[in-house]
Amino acid sequence: MSKPTNQKAWLLVIPVVLLVAFNALIPLMTVVNYSVQETFGNNVFFWEGVKWFEQVLNSSRFHEAFLRQLAFTGTILLIEIPLGIAVALSMPKKGPWVSVCLVLMALPLLIPWNVVGAMWNIFALPDIGLLGRTINAMGIDYNFTQQPLAAWITTIAMDVWHWTSLVVLLAYAGLCSIPDAYYQAAKIDGASPWSVFWRIQLPKMKHVLTIAILLRFMDSFMIYTEPFVLTGGGPGNTTTFLSIDLVKIALGQFDLGPAAAMSLIYFFVVLLMCWIFYTLMMRDEEQ
């Protein structure tokens, strides 16, 4: 659709800009402010320049949290995307069970995140939780409150439980939009089921899969509530991801300077990723 140029369109956009800017720009300005200043209370501030940035970028605490975050995001992407696609592929296109399945699958997505954390907490407790008790009954010593590996595995399992359905729903919608004629032509061409997946289904799902990967990357990179409620970031700090660490510093210790600097670095990394994905996606659509 060719669009006419009309500067009056700004009038339509102003309410949105005002509301979002209020929430985005003012806090960001505050954060920038804090990131370059030092305060000893009583609202007295001293210019510190890039000291906080240096401190954060050089702190091993930040490095560790960042690496933990990367490990977490990488792992869940490797599990959730293929699993989501596989489930979507195995679901029928039509029929009475389809909406039942979709509704049940969508349920985890609408549970408040703290309840997700609490639910898995109760579920995985070694003495009274169904999962915890069952694993220990099989002879494996499992206690996610004390063992780092168990904590990691439980956190990842929780995220897979929570968010894979998003990938399923997106992939399923993408699959359903493929016209029947493609499958019919593939039959006539004698294509194998793998060929059909690799040459028809996957390429046609590219758009929705990009969105799925983008969303899961972003959301998992910003994850806070669920792991916080499940493990509190522990045992120790073994499951302290970036957001959890940041909130500890900002709201826990009220270390405004370092918190602000870390916030900006964090936000910048996320934005960079977002920009890369966005460009790739837009380039795809223009083709």
């Binding site: 669009k3 369109a9 949105v16 195995s90 309840v115 999962l131 729903l169 900002a250 934005l271 920009w275």
Partner: protein, 266 residues
């Protein structure tokens, strides 16, 4: 339908239902029973946890507060997103691509970054501990989402519709309300669903911006866990009840879920 093909979705759904079942199981037990014995079904089936929640204002207010700010946010987000999405869909204007991108970046903003600044901002404008504060704060990521979804749906409506209406003498507001909106009702449904969802589940900001009067159910639940010790049965019942609104909403829009995701603009 080959049997093998059903195996994966069935196992997957079973996996999904397991923790929910466990939560439900615990919600009908007393905390003593939970800590004392391990059973797949309550030995002494009790409603006392639910009764406590429905009768104690500290608890049910939590739900009311949550629903209030979520609905407020959905209404605000979708209402302002509609004209903006129209502008993006129909016109080119100075900075439009950059503006759109900037909006999307806010969807990607880590709430942790905004926790403290929001706390200070909303305290400064004296909105701390109000439903409006949370409703407005959630606009940060929900408005861009709503604009994105609505723009997608609007682009599917041919421009000829607008042109015909203007030729027929409709003023813009009348055209928008009486002609345009009915054609994108599905899109509005999808946008409303996702804004509801993301506001309902978000809790860091909701907790940060409230203390007593507008406290969401999440905050009440965490308080229970720490101060009164582990009142697990109560916690489980509270948790179960938070799943209910979500289940309703999904069921209600189940036909639109596929359409919304098909837009590929979640």
């Amino acid at each position: 339908m080959r049997l093998k093909s059903w195996l994966l979705p069935t196992i997957y759904i079973f996996f999904l239902m397991l923790p929910i079942y466990w939560l439900l199981n615990m919600s009908f037990k007393t905390t003593n029973e939970i800590l004392g014995t391990f059973s797949l079904f309550p030995i002494n089936f009790t409603f006392e946890n639910y009764i406590k929640i429905f009768t104690d204002p500290t608890w049910y207010n939590g739900y009311l507060n949550s629903i209030t700010y979520v609905v407020m946010n959905t209404v605000i987000s979708v209402t302002v997103a509609l004209p903006a999405a129209y502008a993006f869909s129909r016109y080119r204007f100075l900075g439009d691509k950059h503006l759109f991108f900037w909006l999307l970046t806010n969807r990607m903003a880590p709430p942790a970054v905004f926790a403290l600044p929001f706390f200070q901002l909303y305290s400064a404008v004296e909105l701390f501990d109000t439903h409006l504060a949370v409703a407005l704060a959630h606009c940060l990521f929900n408005i861009p989402l709503a604009v994105w979804i609505l723009e997608g749906f609007m682009s599917g409506v041919p421009k000829e519709l607008d042109e015909t209406a203007f030729l027929d003498g409709y003023s813009f507001p009348r055209f928008f309300i009486r002609i345009f909106i009915p054609t994108i009702v599905a899109g509005i449904g999808v946008a409303a669903f996702f804004t509801f969802m993301y506001s309902w589940v978000e809790l860091l900001l909701a907790k940060t911006l409230t203390s007593v009067s507008a406290k969401p159910i999440a905050a009440t639940m965490t308080r229970t866990a720490s101060t009164a010790g582990y009142e697990l049965g109560l916690l489980a019942a509270a948790g179960t009840l938070t799943i209910v609104p979500g289940a309703f909403v999904i069921y209600w829009v189940r036909n639109y879920i596929a359409k919304g995701f098909a837009m590929g603009r979640v």
